[in-house]
Amino acid sequence: MNGIHDMGGMHGMGPVVPDPDEAPFHEPWEGRAWGLLRAMGPFRTGRRRNFRYEHEILPPVDYLRMRYYERFIHVLVGRLLEDGIITQTELDSGQPDAGSPRETPRLTPAMVAEQLARRGSMRRDDVQVPAGFQVGQRVRARNIHPVGHTRLPRYVRGREGAIVRDHGVFNLQDTDADGYSLGENPQHVYTVRFAARELWGDQAARQDAVFADLWEDYLERP
C-alpha cells in the first residue's frame, strides 16, 4: 500500500539523531514488549496476517507518533483479541475471565536461544524457477500500486536500473488488502542498481546509486 511506512525520498521528517552508545532497550518495557511478542507467537492459530502490514495500516498520525515497540504491542494486542486468545474483558480488567482455561507457557527460558537461532528463511531452494532476468540486464521497476503489503518501494516504481545479482528463489511476500498472503509464488529476487540521478535527478551525485532487492514480479523489460 502507498502508506506512511514507505518513506524513501520523503522530506520534512527532521534531522537524524545519532546515538553511538544506544542500549538495545531504552526502558525495561521495550524489552518486555519484545519478549511478549516472541512468547505469544506460538499461540497463534489459523491464517496469519502479515505482521508488517498490520503496522502499515496504522493511521499515519499514529504510525509517526508511536514508538517502535509501542507499535509492536499495539499489533500484538490486536492479534490476541482477534484470535480470541484474550478477551476485551480481560484486557479491561487485567484478570483472566472466570472459567478460562489455564494455559502453559509455550516459550520457556531454555527455548529462547534455540528460537532466535532458528532460520526463518523464505528462500525456496527446493523449487526450480527459471530466472526471467540475467545479471547485467537493464530492467524497469513496474509502475504498480498494490493495496496490500508489498516490498516494492514507491521511489523506484517506473525507474530503470540494472540487475547486479540474482539471489535465487524466494516466496513473494505481498499480501491482499486484508494482509493475507497472495500465495507462496516463489520467484527470483534480484538486487537492482538504480543510478541516483535516475531516481532523484541532477541534484544527486553522478556516480552515486541506490540498490534495492526486488522480486521478479516487480520488474519488466524497459
Binding site: M7, P24, R32, A39, S93, L116, R118, R119, A209, D213
Partner: protein, 299 residues
Amino acid sequence: MLPGGEAELTRGNISGVSGLTEARFISRSETLFVLNATSRWVYAGRLRIAEHGGERVADSSKGRVNRRKFLGSAAASAATLVTHPQVIRAQEAPAADHDHQVVPSDPALRVKALESLLVEKGMVDPAALDAVVDTYETKIGPRNGARIVARAWVDPAYRQRLLTDGTAAIAEFGYGGSQGEHMVVLENSPRVHNLVVCTLCSCYPWPVLGLPPTWYKSAPYRSRAVIDPRGVLREFGLELPGEVEVRVWDSTAELRYLVLPERPAGTENLGEDELAALVTRDSMVGVAKVAPPAAGGQA
C-alpha cells in the same frame, strides 16, 4: 466540548476494579490506567480530558467501562489532577477524535498490564521474557559483527569468503539465525562508501549487529538515506569527498547487509581482538568510519 458529558474523577470503583488507589491519564484523550488493590495497573478505557470552568475534567469514552458508574464514582479525584499535573500528560481532545486512533500512549503501563494478564492466564513465563531481554542485551549485538570485521582485516582468505558468501563466512563464527539467514557483506574503500537502510521497515542483521538503534528505525533516516545519503552522513559527522561513490542499500527483501569498513591507518601492529575493539556499530551500518586508535576508537 466533550461528548457524553463531563465529570470530575473521584476515588471509587471502575467497572469492578475495587480498591483503586491511583489513576494515570495517558496522553491526549486516550487512555486511563488505574492501579488497583493488588498493585496491578489495568486499562480502564479511553478518556477525554478538557478544561471546564477552570478545572480539568475527564470522561471515559470507552463503552465497556460503565460510564454512569465511572462518571459518578470513578478514579483518582480532581485532587490528583490538580496536585499531580505531571501524571496528566494530556492535551485537548481533538474535535475529530477518530475511533481508530485507539492507541494508548503510555506503553510502559500497557505492556505491564498485558504481561501481568498473560502470566495470570498461564501463557507467559516471565523468566522467558528475562531470557529474551538478556540475550539481546548481552549476547547478540555489534560485538559479533566487530569480530567478523577484525578477522576480515587480518585474514585475506576470510575476507574473500566473507565478500563471496557472507552467510557462510559469518556462520564460521557461529552467528546466524533469525534476520541473518541471507547475509551480504559490502566492502568500503577510499573510492566506494556503502550505507544500509530499510526504507519500508527496520530490517537489520540481528545476529551480527543486534537490534537496530532508534535512529535506524526513525523516519528521518528511512526517508532521507536514499535521497540524500551525503546529507545524512554529515549528520553523523562524516563528510565524504565529492568523488567518492556512495552506494545505498535498501533492505527491501530477505537479504541483510553488513558493511565491512576500512581498516584505519596506524593499526598494523594491533591484534584481532584489539582491532575488533575499534569497530563501532555505526561503521558496520555505513554511517561512520572506524577511527584510528589515536582518536580513541570512536568514529
